[in-house]
Amino acid sequence: MEWSEQKIDKSNIDEFTLFLKEKFKNLNESKFTLDLEGVERVDFTFVQLFVALRKSCNQKGVELEVVRMEESVRRYLEFAIDAMVKDGR
């Protein structure tokens, strides 16, 4: 079961949520792999959902692995999720 659309944004975030929930419910391993092959564009609804997924994995002691992520998506996630604190403020 893989996500087949090229984008994950507010237009299809409900479906993607259902997709993740289903996948998470049927998880038999100690690792959750999120395959983002083909996903070229995301918006912040995806970021938020990714955070929620990470939370659930932490709660269940499951390792979260993201694979085949496009560079643009990676940069977007980094910008949104990673804290940036410059030295010498």
Partner: protein, 686 residues
Amino acid sequence: MNEELQLFLEDAHEQLQTMENALLSIQEEGMDKERIDEIFRAMHTIKGMAGMFGFDGVVECTHIAENVMESVRNGEFTLDASHVDLLLRTKDHVQTLVESATEGLEMDERLQERHQALMRQLDGIMAGDGGEGLLHLSLRFKESFFQSGVELSALLRFVEDMGEVVARVPVFDLVPDLEAIEPTKCYVGYELQLRAHKSAKEIEEAFSFVEEDLEVHIFDPHDPQAFVRFLKETSTPEESVKAYRRHRLYEEKYLDEVVERVLEELIEGVETPPPPPQPEPIPQEPPKKEERAVEVAPKRFTLRVESSKIDRLINQISEMVIANAKITQLAEELNNPALEESSGVLSSMLEELRNGIMNIRMVQVGGTFNKFRRVVFDIAKKLGKEIEFEIVGAETELDKSVIEKLSDPLIHMLRNSIDHGIETPQERELRGKPRKGRVELRAYPDAGTIVIEVSDDGAGIDRQKVLQKAIAKGIVPEDATLSDKEVAMLIFAPGLSTASEVSDISGRGVGMDVVKKNIEELRGMLSVESEEGRGTKITIRLPLTLAIIDGFLVQVGDTKYIVPLDMIQECLEYTPRMKERMRNKDYIELRDEIIPLLDMRKHFNERIRHDIRENIVVVKYAKSVVGIVVDELFGEFQTVIKPLGEVFRNVPGISGATILGSGEIALIFDIPSLIDHKLRHARVYQ
């Protein structure tokens, strides 16, 4: 606080007020060379004065501010609203530093942090970053945000257009887990630090297009008050603080302090003042002066009031005390409990009012004493003597009018000490003394009085010389037998001077008798102790105040008298058994101590009443204790001291009079002179 520090404090306040006025003027009317110069001068002056006292924090802060103003003067940059705001905060900070320093306080941690933050900001201007202040932006996206049509990451990029983002920290604490999340609702927030090149207000306005879907807070993170206000207003304070700690956006101590203040204010229900106006480009509407005044109002300030105004107030209170005494008496006569109660309340309030006003008049003697340093220096220089002058107890308080009248007598005594007492350095060396003579001016409170001592380690009073001179001048008879103390007291006799050479310093013999007269006019007493070759100590004992005292009303024969309450040790009934035990001598034995008695009926030729029980009022002055025999005891009485007329002015044992509620006059016992009389009499009698 000594006089120099007080002067520095007052001068610094004036300079800082000038600075504030100039900054507010720039804020209102734009840059002006004259105003820039005023600010520069204010910082420069305070720096110079603070340097003399070693107040390093003040020097550091004013030095940087001075450099900033120097750069402005040189046209290196122009002041904008954010600079003015920073300089106003600098002014407030310098004021706090000056006040702390003059009170001898070290910078506490909170002040130290504020100091460092301000230094960094001032340095920032000097480093050429245009003085762009660091602002904190707290963004909380509402659940509806995803429906706003605005892409959240685009909004974060938008912030970058307003300045340099130096920190960006996401707040995801409120994002639910996968099971609970509703993906079209927004749960996130961001904390940003921005070195903004726009004002806080401009940034806030820039977010207005999403104001319904976004909660924005913008504040100066180095202003603890603003920080506290933010945490009280934001919907997610805990998450914010967690994020700051997680990513070390602020120092732990600073955060702890801010959080503590938030909790304190929430517990106490204290309202945080409304946010100060944010900096605006100049010219713009300035912050209201009233708001600014409230914000920067100093914690303490001195109000200079003409002393005659306070004197008038004291006179009015004195009249009120007398009027109330009449009401009290009337209430008793009418046997009206309600009126008695009301007059009792009024009495208490008047007493509080009286104490408050009297307290205003109390000033530290150090202010006057310090002026004598220059006097001592000048006299010593003129006479070729070396003097070590020490002031002890400068913090002792005394009624201002007493201090004013004390100044000249003290100067005269110091002159006498240096001129007659202290030997030349050569003489001192020959006598095995240090070259430098020591003169000490000491003040301390003692049993409701203030004691001032002028002492020196000079030659002491030459008993024979003084006595011979007194005899030659006809001041004492040739066959007089005087004790050492009595001889020493002759230096206060009119026309007596033992100085072999008359100088313009002292020695004309017209000074010390005037000194004695002045002290006695202040209801004070003088005593002298001297030891040849070792030095002299003149002691002045003064009442704390001159206007109203707490008295104790008694009756002797047909006359009512007042005994100053602070001199009373105890009152007791003079029983026949006590009289019998002491065989009717003028003594009683009280707890194994023999106390001489002074029967006021005999002393003032009052009618002896046999119908009442006698009482003894035990009074103490200096180290002497005497029992005063009176007829009736009435209790405490607020006593307004009225001067005696010409006829009664020199009656021994009476220092003044007061008016009772009935309109009667009660005379005030002059306890020191009564004790003196009794002890002299007792000595001769023995």
